[in-house]
């Protein structure tokens, strides 16, 4: 072995991990080469210094290990329980939405649950009221009167619509009543005709020889 080979192997030689044949060859070289021996001595010195830094004495608290393990196991169980409940709730929601035709969505910071078609709502144009210190009180009052008229108009419209619906409902009730009476009358007439026919047939049989 030459100096280059030995110096490459010196850390392993000093650290004690060199296979025996190589260890012997390196040892033989160190015995005759002062430069490599100096290198070896400086690495050996580092290892000696390392050995002089003792570790703190430690005694592990085994009962505390058992207690902590039990606490962590309980915490894990609680976490899994929460996950299971959340998953069950999500599954139930999904099932309900599929089976019952529920529509669930988030809208304007609220949870909306809808089934069927929503009722038709009359479109109402929003009335923007600007409050400004620069506008006169009269203009503001006029705006308020306009708003009031609009609301009264809407109310009258709804009332009229409601009245028409009530009238239509009354008319339908009358019609239904008339049809029912007519049906009963025709039924009674049919029964009488049937009775008369039966009587006639019976009489004709009786008079035949």
């Amino acid at each position: 072995m030459n100096c280059n080979d030995v110096q490459n192997l010196l850390p392993e030689y000093v650290g004690g991990g060199l296979p025996e044949p190589e260890r012997q060859q390196a040892g033989q070289h160190l015995a005759i080469c002062s430069h490599c021996r100096e290198e070896h001595d400086s690495l050996r010195h580092v290892c000696d210094l390392l050995a002089g830094t003792p570790a703190p004495e430690v005694r592990v608290d085994v009962p505390a290990v058992y207690r902590m393990a039990a606490q962590r196991a309980r915490r894990r169980l609680r976490w899994w329980r929460r996950v299971a409940i959340a998953a069950a709730a999500a599954a139930l929601l999904l099932f309900s939405s599929i089976v019952a035709g529920l529509h669930i969505r988030f809208e304007r910071h609220q949870l909306v649950v809808q089934w069927g078609e929503p009722p038709e709502t009359p479109s109402v144009q929003p009335v923007v009221v600007h409050a400004s210190s620069e506008k006169s009180t009269a203009a503001l009052e006029e705006k308020l009167r306009d708003l009031n008229d609009l609301l009264l108009g809407l109310a009258a419209d709804l009332e009229a619509r409601d009245f028409r619906q009530q009238e239509e409902l009354g008319r339908l009730r009358s019609e239904f009543s008339r049809l029912r009476s007519e049906t009963i009358r025709q039924l009674v007439a049919a029964e009488r005709a049937e009775d008369a026919l039966l009587d006639r047939l019976l009489n004709e049989k009786g008079t035949k020889p």
Partner: protein, 186 residues
């Protein structure tokens, strides 16, 4: 009577014998303390880190499968504990401020010894973590380069290079601090 092997103790513990676990703890608590002290450079943290190592051993004991390398498995857990601890605390090296044991030497000698130990521990703590791990496992714990390579999932040649680099850096650092062999023997 020979002490039961680690594998035998693990087998008995997995079969329900808690005393086997306690025997393992007593056997390995000091090597773990030494290893963690070297990695972190913080003696004050070593008891808590040791406790965490054996807590994780206890929790993982059921899934341990004997492959002839209990020590490697244990050191891997300790390495992860040290890394998790340093991530949480963003450890920086501080001098050990624990009270020294009285060894019968003079006060001056004790101070010198403590200062030297602090300087060396500081120099080790300044090494990059991969070098520190290899140096500790090889020099302090006596693991072979092949065992270390398996433990850290690196080739044996890489482990040897890191070991050599660690010794070289330490030599330079300690030399700059006046702790070279010439200064010490002068």
């Amino acid at each position: 009577m020979l002490s039961p092997h680690d594998a035998e103790l693990m087998r008995r513990w997995q079969a329900g014998e808690d005393r086997a676990f306690e025997t393992l703890v007593r056997r390995w608590q000091q090597p773990m303390a030494r290893f963690l002290h070297r990695l972190t450079g913080r003696a004050a943290l070593v008891p808590d880190l040791c406790q965490e190592v054996f807590l994780r051993v206890y929790q993982a004991g059921g899934s341990y499968r004997e492959s002839g390398n209990f020590a490697g498995w244990l050191y891997r857990i300790a390495l992860n504990v040290a890394r998790d601890g340093s991530r949480r605390r963003q450890l920086t090296f501080l001098a050990d401020d624990a009270e020294p044991e009285w060894t019968g030497e003079t006060a001056d000698a004790t101070c010198v010894r403590r200062e030297l130990a602090d300087v060396v521990a500081r120099a080790v703590a300044e090494l990059p973590e991969p070098m520190r791990v290899v140096l500790t496992l090889r020099h302090d714990e006596g693991l072979s380069f092949e065992d270390i390579a398996r433990l850290i999932s690196a080739p044996a040649s890489t482990v040897k290079s890191r070991f050599a680099a660690a010794l070289s850096r330490l030599r330079q650092r300690l030399g700059r601090l006046g702790l070279g062999p010439e200064e010490m023997t002068a």
